[in-house]
């Protein structure tokens, strides 16, 4: 079996995901910014469940809250829910073909958007536009590339060691 990935790869990918969360994008792309952190979290929960868990999801989410200046605890909440769902369906998700996996991730991201929408409704944020609901679609398109990219990075890391 594949050996568990090295720690720096997991941590490094989360750090990159956090940077991506505040990376300046053109105004048009801003509302559809894919939730890279959630996708990375889903990947590591599937591939390295002994390293990543609900606690990781909570900590990463909290850090993201602090960095992006969202309501403290909002992203922690969202990522913990997502992590729980991925853990629950891990056996099935792992053995889906890539495109099917992408669709499943898209559904998870859509669920995340619904949760965000509910949180924002309670907190009292202004209403979101239509583009807000398109972000999961971008996530679906991005998932296969992300998957292959991290796989390659892991392969390289293993060859080197």
């Amino acid at each position: 079996m594949i050996r568990p990935p090295t720690g720096w790869l997991v941590h490094g990918s989360f750090l990159l995901g956090l940077v991506f969360a505040v990376l300046p994008l053109p105004d048009m792309l801003q509302p559809v910014r894919p939730y890279l952190l959630a996708m990375l979290l889903a990947y590591w929960l599937m591939e390295a469940p002994n390293r990543v868990g609900l606690g990781t999801a909570f900590l990463v989410g909290l850090l993201a809250d602090v960095i992006t200046a969202s309501v403290l605890g909002e992203q922690a909440f969202r990522l913990v829910v997502l992590a729980f769902l991925v853990q629950h369906f891990r056996a099935r998700l792992r053995f889906f073909p890539l495109w099917q996996q992408a669709v499943a991730i898209g559904l998870l991201l859509l669920n995340d958007r619904v949760i965000t929408w509910l949180i924002h409704a309670v907190v009292g944020s202004p209403p979101h536009g239509v583009a807000y609901w398109l972000a999961p679609v971008l996530g679906v398109l991005l998932w296969p590339w992300l998957y292959v990219l991290i796989d390659l990075a892991r392969l390289r890391a293993r060859e080197r060691s």
Binding site: R33, V71, G73
Partner: protein, 313 residues
């Protein structure tokens, strides 16, 4: 019997797996309530600024490189044209200042005659905006100077158009500002034409402010310019805030609600001015050089480097 035992076993199993989930979710909800009700989020970010700043720095690096590169490789003719335009603008601005200086002196004299106490002295400092995107659902901005350059909590932020917002968190080298359009933000304003006082709230949309609870008899109409009234002392008086774009009765038909468009250029620009009111007693007598020091003692060299000017409105 065996079945029942099995079942209870499975139940406790599922209880065990959902227990951490419930624990984390409750923790997250607790944090959200603490942030919403008691504004712990700002304090937490201030404490953690050492952790946050590297992320912001890295995220803003590509844009910084791009800007630096385009400045490096700008055409000579373009720079000259730019320079000429700037010089022209400066000449006009200086001419206007000379004219205003006389008015300001006269104003000061008249205020002294009246025994007024509004002789605040303004401290102005130019800071850059860090190119990063925060949560798109909250109207915030990151500035690339912090307590090391003398930025203080509650300082007002303006640009060439008008009032932009105020500083809500100060880190060592970075600070965060709340824009006037954030739903949590309110500015005491005055209609420039009629002198009517009101409060302008943010709406969460970057092109809209709202002024609720105006009496029906009040003199306010479309096209009126709003300026800061200076009440509360946080925003100095007289800076433009926005223009009224519509007036309509509110739900109860007892008051009127006015919509305004912010005067500041919220979408563009990468440099803004930080201004702070200082108590009027500093104004008495000749200005002592020691008073120019920002209150944070170790920041003296940095404060000297930044363009700091004094103005007396």
């Amino acid at each position: 019997m065996a079945y029942a035992g099995n079942k209870s076993n499975r139940l406790s199993d599922s209880a065990l797996t959902t227990l951490p989930l419930v624990f984390y979710l409750v923790l997250a909800i607790g944090l959200m309530i603490a942030d919403q009700r008691m504004a712990y989020g700002n304090q937490a970010r201030q404490k953690l600024s050492i952790v946050i700043e590297p992320f912001w720095w890295v995220a803003s690096a590509p844009m910084r490189l791009f800007r630096g590169g385009s400045e490096e490789f700008a055409l000579r003719s373009q720079l000259q044209a730019d320079n000429r335009q700037r010089r022209q603008d400066l000449d006009i601005a200086i001419a206007r200042i000379h004219q205003l200086q006389a008015v300001a002196d006269e104003n000061q004299r008249l205020r002294q005659l009246l025994g007024g106490t509004r002789g605040y002295s303004l401290k102005v400092q130019m800071v850059g905006i860090l190119d990063i995107d925060l949560d798109p659902f909250r109207q915030r901005l990151v500035l690339d100077s912090g307590s090391d350059s003398g930025v203080q909590l509650g300082q007002a932020l303006i640009d060439s158009g008008g009032v932009l917002g105020q500083v809500v968190e100060v880190g060592k080298n970075r600070s965060t500002a709340l824009l006037v359009t954030d739903p949590d933000h309110a500015v005491p304003v005055q209609v420039a034409r009629s002198g009517l006082r009101a409060i302008a709230y943010g709406t969460g949309h970057s092109d809209r402010l709202v002024l609720p609870n105006i009496p029906q008899s009040a003199d306010v109409r479309k096209g009126d310019v709003l300026i800061t009234s200076g009440i509360g002392g946080r925003f100095p008086a007289g800076f433009p805030v926005g223009t009224i774009i519509g007036v309509q009765p509110d739900k109860l038909r007892l008051f009127v609600t006015a919509d305004a468009q912010p005067a500041a250029h919220l979408e563009r620009g990468n440099e803004v001015l930080l201004i702070s009111n200082r108590p009027p007693m500093i104004d008495v007598g000749p200005p002592a050089p020691a008073l120019r020091k920002p209150p944070v003692a170790p920041a003296l060299p940095a404060a000297d480097a930044t363009p700091t000017t004094e103005a007396h409105p």
